[in-house]
Amino acid sequence: MMMRRSTLLTGCTALVLALGATACGGGEPVAAGGGDKSLDGRTVTVAGVWSGSEQENFQKVLDAFTAKTGAKTEFVSTGDNVSTVVGSKIEGGDAPDVVMVPQVGVLRQFAEAGWLQPLGADVEKNVDAGFAKVWKEYGSVDGTLYGLYFKAAHKSTVWYDPESLAQAGVEAPATWEEMLTAGHTVSDSGLTAFAVAGQDGWTLTDWFENVYLSQAGPEKYDALAAHELKWTDPSVVKALTTLGTLFKDKQLIAGGQKGALNTDFPGSVEKVFGPEPEAGMVYEGDFVAGVAKDQYQRTIGEDADFFPFPAVDGGPAPVVSGGDAAVVLKDGKQREAGLALVEYLATPEAAEVWAGAGGFLSPNKQVDPGAYADDVTRATAKSLVAAGDTVRFDMSDQAPAAFGGTKGTGEWKILQDFLRDPSDPKATAAALEQAAAKAYKG
């Protein structure tokens, strides 16, 4: 019996040692790389939120990188919660080399935790040459460039069914007032004007951000995003009041407020592009096109089109954006190869690979517009690049997740309450400030 136990113990020890060895093995530091075909035999691990067709298309970019440098790549899909997954991977000693970070706030959080490797002078040169300054700033923390914005989203697009608008006899509006007037005309024709996805709080934050950016201007937008400006500021109340004129108008919102609160984002697209349209227009980012195309067989540019989010109160038309930034982790075993990958992602060449596959916008102005697969994507990409330094990153993505990114609480919940009852913008602003103060402090 004694004998057997000791064998067991030895076996266990051996097993543990073996596991430890695999966990820690292969982590030899490497000499500087980055040249052509110089990365043979290396494997770069990339983590990101993408799955499905986005992952497939990104894989094409990675394959192009492999063809160029010889480094193998491995993509790990993290699901929605990048920061938790990456955090636990770092603690577990299994850090990916490159992470595609979907939020400014998360990038900042990583940088402050000391997890990120500065991208260095070469990448910085490329970024200076190809990107508007604002993208560099969103990728930097305290003046050091950590993140390269490879993929961007255009969140200032209002999508419509051209037939519904033609039926009502309205043209794409250029100002908020025109949009409401057009909405009333659409409503006269029998369709409701807008499908609003109130069940998904993030669509409401996007509505607010567009109105606010155009009405209050980029400086106030930045200040509010950093919580240097309080949410009780009159400009916030004014933007909420403006938004309230839309929210409280039963003619403008499919199903009224109650119906909107019971509609999720895919549902709102269905209400415009589905088999039984209830509304003429739906506001959300360029990804609406993807849903309309994949699920409702719309041909983008023919029976689904967009107009830019209109200007509010004489301000410039807003361009709110989002995006995924590539960052390199200090703890990655193939850090050098990871840096080489980010360097590659900064080139127009890499962006053009995905642009051809569709569902992708690049903030890089050197990307050839001809590379995009269809006219509408080309138009969104042009609009994004043309906006230059006036582009602003989605405010709720810049905020701490507790405020700007959590179902059922913070900004999402408060704006949903506002949609339910838009009568008191001041009280809503006060509630927002209270929630923001708590989240930004923590």
């Binding site: 039926q167 006899g169 024709s189 069940q199 507790a402 179902k407 059922g408 609480t409 923590g442």
Partner: protein, 454 residues
Amino acid sequence: MTDTLVKDARPPAPPRPGTAPGGRSRRRGRAVALLFVLPALLLLGALVVYPVLFSVGRSFFDASGTRFIGVDNYTEMVRDPATLKAIRNTVVWVVVAPVLLTGLGLILAVLVEKVRWATAFKTLLFLPMAVSFLAAGIIFRLAYDEDPDKGVLNAAAVAVHDAFAGTSPYPTARARDGQGLTHAGDGSYRTARTVSPGDTVTLPFVGVLPKDLPAGTKRAGAAAARGAAPGELRGVAYLDFAPGGKGAPGQVDAEERGLPGMTVRAVQDGRTAATATTAPDGSFAFTGLAPGRYTLTLPAANFAPPYDGISWLGPALVTPAIIGAYLWIWTGFAMVLIGAGLATLPRDALEAARMDGANEWQIFRRITVPLLAPVLTVVFVTLVINVLKVFDLVYIIAPGPVQEDATVLATQMWLVSFGGGNDQGMGSALGVLLLLLVVPAMVFNVRRFRRSQR
């Protein structure tokens, strides 16, 4: 928890040390006992005691876990409206769900005893226990959906409502603003000016999709152009919107069509003098009206929006709705446990009561329930413990906008710790509160268990 019920099954007596009560052998016996208990103790220590102590400690630190903040998390807890809501909802759950479940279980158990297909019936009621909470949550999320096309409960509610109240022909229609029709508070429309026999009136409406018009609808132009005969009050209700937005508001243009089937009333001094229904071209006519001034009204029944059921998952009803789903899952469990208790009841007491002429209600009230009291208490306490930790159903069934209205302590603990706030200090404090709430029920159950073993 099943162990508590099976009172006769005593565990084997603890091994007695040998007959020689020497100090040495006793010590040795103790060492051996310790050796046997050690693995269990280690596991319990690592998986229960250590996490509990860690959580208690963690609850005195802030979100980052580096700064000691004393009882701040606890004071914040009773100030934060979301947490207060969670506490309130948890109280509602604990008060309502176990009582309902024990009551339902008791009634069903007693009734099931008397039916022929008892086993089949019991199996059927117990089946939901086999469904995971996640799946049950998704099922009920769908069943409670507000859209009658998706949610079965609202589909039923709408079907019943429409069978009694009927539907309106033009739920989306509304009068063209500023074109002679005013909206009354009750959803009806009336002409802004009074009219008299000999007049022709046009009643412009918008907001109806051409495809929603009834079949056989005709253009309204000709009817509008026709003059009224002497003594006749004529008019046309029409859709004042031509495709492409062409046509002038308030005028019957060539392409515009009538709205058939609308009810129009001629009202004088608050009394309805005559009622007409519009023809396929939208025209209507009142003949034989006494001379005088009339107001034409279009009752709200023409425009009533379709009844869209009950907001099961609105802020007011969401907690009762989720408790309903919980009942669906657990009723079978309560019934089977109570049924098992029922089977062990001494038949002679029941027989004796029957002989003495007690009726079934008296037997139930005076004999069955008191004899079952121990089982009922166990079921009740077990359910209280279960209800305190309810999480999955609440998390899955409550849609985003009402999540905070439905939240209970367990969901709140998770949301605060991992659902975005990442404040694990506060989360630990909530966990400790939950622990404190469960402890009395646990102590009670353990005591009962001990007593029943003795």
